[in-house]
């Protein structure tokens, strides 16, 4: 399996606070990687580093993607869109800034993929929280990226909206797009992830498939494993 991005001994501090501390992580082609960990663990900073938005103090990021800008699609925690424009126009605008003159069919296809066809003309500002998250994912998908990065795609959503987004991520992964997502929802992680990386205090504390992680920590439940890792992390600190 080809490695898209490889972080080696990544270190980054904000003032005296070390946010990433000798962090090692691989992002591989064709897999769904879940990054989990408590608030303030460094997940969003890690995403910024992966995207090249933040520079490391020490360590390296090796990217094997030929064209980073064209190859990655991102959904940030706060849905990104232009108020005053409908879902259709927002997707069209972000396609244009990515140098793609998206046809009507392409935009409608992405909107359908994200279950937004009925909201195509509704001002993005008036969409529900779930619809805004799906719009952010549609915007991330319009230039057909090979790697999709989703920062807490289901946070602050009701169960029905969460379920819709989970199904969407599953179908995107089935279509061959590599996905990296952060989450606090262990049921979502269990359902979607091929590999899980648990991050705490800026380090990867555990990494592997669900079965590998459960077996190595002698537990049969991800929630229990999460609690165990939190406890271990606190002891180490």
């Amino acid at each position: 399996m080809k490695t898209f991005i490889h972080l080696k001994d990544a270190e980054l501090s904000y003032g005296s606070k070390k946010v990433l501390d000798r962090l090692n992580l691989e992002i591989r082609e064709g897999e769904v990687l879940a990054i989990i960990g408590p608030n303030g663990a460094g997940k969003s900073t890690l995403i910024d580093v992966i995207l090249g938005l933040k520079k490391l103090d020490r360590g390296t990021v090796v990217r094997s993607l030929d064209d980073l800008k064209g190859a990655i699609g991102v959904q940030f925690q706060t849905p990104t869109f232009f108020p005053g424009l409908g879902a259709y126009d927002n997707v069209k605008l972000f396609a244009a800034v990515n140098g793609k003159a998206a046809s009507r069919e392409e935009i409608e296809e992405v909107l359908e993929q994200c279950h937004l066809q009925d909201a195509a003309r509704t001002d993005a500002y008036r969409l529900s929280g779930g619809q805004q998250k799906r719009l952010a994912i549609a915007i991330a998908l319009i230039h057909r990226p090979r790697l999709l990065i989703l920062d807490e795609p289901t946070a602050a959503l009701d169960p029905s909206a969460r379920s819709e987004i989970k199904s969407m991520i599953a179908s995107l992964a089935e279509s061959g797009i590599s996905v990296v997502f952060t989450s606090h929802d262990m049921s979502e992680v269990k359902r979607l992830a091929d590999r899980i990386a648990f991050i705490m205090n800026g380090r990867v504390r555990a990494e592997g498939t669900l079965d590998e992680l459960l077996a190595s920590h002698g537990t049969d439940d991800l929630d229990e494993l999460y609690a165990l890792m939190l406890e271990k992390g606190r002891v180490r600190v």
């Binding site: 995207l51 090249g52 938005l53 980073l68 800008k69 064209g70 990655i72 991102v74 940030f76 925690q77 706060t78 849905p79 990104t80 869109f81 232009f82 108020p83 005053g84 424009l85 126009d89 069209k92 605008l93 972000f94 244009a96 800034v97 990515n98 140098g99 003159a101 001002d123 915007i139």
Partner: protein
């Protein structure tokens, strides 16, 4: 690609309620309302320029500042940094989209002046007004961007943009003469880019070019654009 970005940006900006109130309804209402009570041709010409520039400064500093800060908070600029379009080109598109609107509002005010008060402007005057709007857009929108880069939230943005834009208007001769004002106010008005925009606008209405004021406003525009570029942050 750029044309498509600009057209969609314009569509997004024009639906902004702040823009509607501060840059369209307020200047138009002010010009028609005050123009009907004061029938001096010279006063109405000055009022037309003041209304035009009020629209420009409120749209460029306040509305554009709020818009930019909202985009910052939504992560739009982070996403743009990952796109193929350089952020500088995106900002240029937003300035041009707003400029089109300022030109439209100026045309509306000139039309109102012609229809209601029989005011005329020469072709040279029209070209000078257009030049004023272009230079003014760059200067005042840059100020809006610089403020938005510093503001942490809407409250701070509101305070900072008001603290900058209102003194600019009050420390100018847009709505009244400063001949009787204290010396320090007259001195401050000389450091005010809005005052030079007012002078250029008044000369333009008379079909003349105020070269020194034009040069000073261009200098202000260059400095303000430089500050906006230096202080611009993606997050």
């Amino acid at each position: 690609m750029i044309r498509s970005v600009m057209a969609l940006m314009a569509k997004s900006i024009y639906k902004d309620a702040y823009m509607l109130v501060w840059s369209i309804l307020l200047p138009l209402g002010l010009f028609i309302g005050l123009g009907m009570y004061h029938d001096g041709a010279s006063y109405r010409a000055d009022l037309l320029v003041a209304s035009m520039l009020l629209s420009l400064v409120m749209g460029a500093i306040n509305t554009s500042g709020f818009w930019t800060m909202t985009q910052h908070r939504r992560g739009v600029f982070k996403l743009l940094k990952l796109s193929r379009l350089p952020i500088s080109q995106f900002i240029l598109c937003s300035i041009l989209a707003r400029l089109l609107m300022f030109v439209g509002i100026a045309a509306l005010l000139l039309l109102a002046g012609f229809l209601l008060f029989d005011m005329r402007i020469s072709a040279v005057g029209l070209m000078l007004v257009l030049a004023l709007l272009i230079i003014g857009s760059v200067c005042f929108t840059s100020i809006g961007y610089a403020i938005a880069s510093r503001a942490r939230d809407e409250g701070m943005m509101n305070m900072m943009s008001t603290v900058v834009s209102f003194p600019m208007i009050f420390l100018s001769t847009a709505f009244y003469s400063l001949d009787q004002a204290p010396r320090w106010i007259q001195f401050l008005s000389k450091l005010n880019p809005f005052e030079y925009a007012v002078r250029i606008g008044r000369s333009a209405m008379a079909g003349a070019v105020d070269v020194p004021s034009l040069a000073i406003l261009v200098a202000f525009a260059v400095v303000c654009a430089g500050i906006a570029i230096r202080t611009f942050r993606v997050e």
